[in-house]
């Protein structure tokens, strides 16, 4: 089980992910609503894993991912992309993402992906 930071600009998606991850026994150590906040919260909380939305205001998920990886190359980040943004996946992987889930997602698959990344 891991300590997870959830990053998404919509409260609804954050709450949904929080419920899913909590039901899987994970500890939600924090939330962030944009990329800049995500980078700050990561440095503060040092979570085991981050779920990162791609499209967000101010600093987007890809830029936040790059900043987190620059500060901590071992950081484990799973990107959340919406349908039709699959091309972002390649950019995210190139930037150091360990996994990706496509919205809308289903709870068992999210938990499976989180487990895979945490155990890698």
């Amino acid at each position: 089980m891991g300590r997870i930071l959830i990053v998404d600009d919509t409260m609804f998606m954050r709450t949904l992910l929080k419920n899913i991850l909590f039901s899987g026994g994970h500890d939600i150590v924090g939330e962030a609503a944009d990329g800049a906040e995500a980078v700050a919260r990561y440095q503060e909380l040092k979570p085991d894993l981050v779920t990162m939305d791609v499209v967000m205001p101010k600093v987007n998920g890809i830029e936040a991912l790059k900043a987190i990886k620059a500060a901590d190359p071992a950081a484990k980040v799973i990107m959340c992309t919406a349908v039709g943004q699959e091309q972002m996946v390649k950019l995210a992987v190139k930037s150091g993402a360990r996994g990706y889930i496509v919205k809308p997602f289903q709870a068992p698959k999210v938990l499976e992906e989180v487990k895979n990344v945490l155990s890698a």
Binding site: N19, D53, E86, Q87, Q106
Partner: protein
Amino acid sequence: MKSVPVKVEHGGKWVPTTLGIGEDRIRIDAPLDCEIPYKSVVDLEEKKNQVVITAGAEGELVYRIASVEKVLSVLKKFIIIQCSAYRLNAFFMSPAVRGGVLVQDARWEKGAIAVLKTGIWFVSQETQVCIPIADVAGIELTSREIQEKNLDVVKIDHLGESEVVTSFVLCPMTTLQVLYNFLREATHDSEVSEEIDPLTGQVAMLVYSGMDSSAIENMLKLSHKDLDAIYERLLGTGLAEVLHVRKEVQLTAKGVRYISNAMKSPTN
């Protein structure tokens, strides 16, 4: 013609007999004692250890055949390649995404796609995949990066084993457009035309994600009565169906299409 032992449904009972599989037809011995040219087949459905073959101009002849997977696999391949259906050679990837997670070992396979009355079939040397038309949640003409080139593909979202699965078809643009139009027409019953209020949409999203009634009530601070009323709206618009007597619901293909479309907004 190679002969194999099978069981066929006859008079409401399963009866052992022999099936001959030829190059252009099959032969079923007594009690059915008939030949079925592949080109007369208009539909093919698969169930566990059996196939249902519908033949004849009006689809008036229905044969149920049960056998081991190896025999059914050969039979299905002959039928799909030669039956009366919209069919084309294509590359396909199925499943490519399952439950929102990209399938790690997904790869493009060269084969044929056939669109029959009740299902879309993908067939290659190694794979046979059937997507029931009733389970199709969305058809989209989109592009995908393949070998560092952006190529046009048809994306098919469908329900499979209680999960939402995405498959892709790749072929020349001219046939791709025809395939897309054909699939849109075949699945037009699942188009979402109703206006859905935001709260109902949120509940639909939570159902999609696998939340039960209790979790939804807690998350959205809804009473049991409020949630029941929202469920009734989802049921009434055809976006969801009753799963069991407690009225836990799961989204239909139409509901999945609504959620998929909603997630395409630039804020997501």
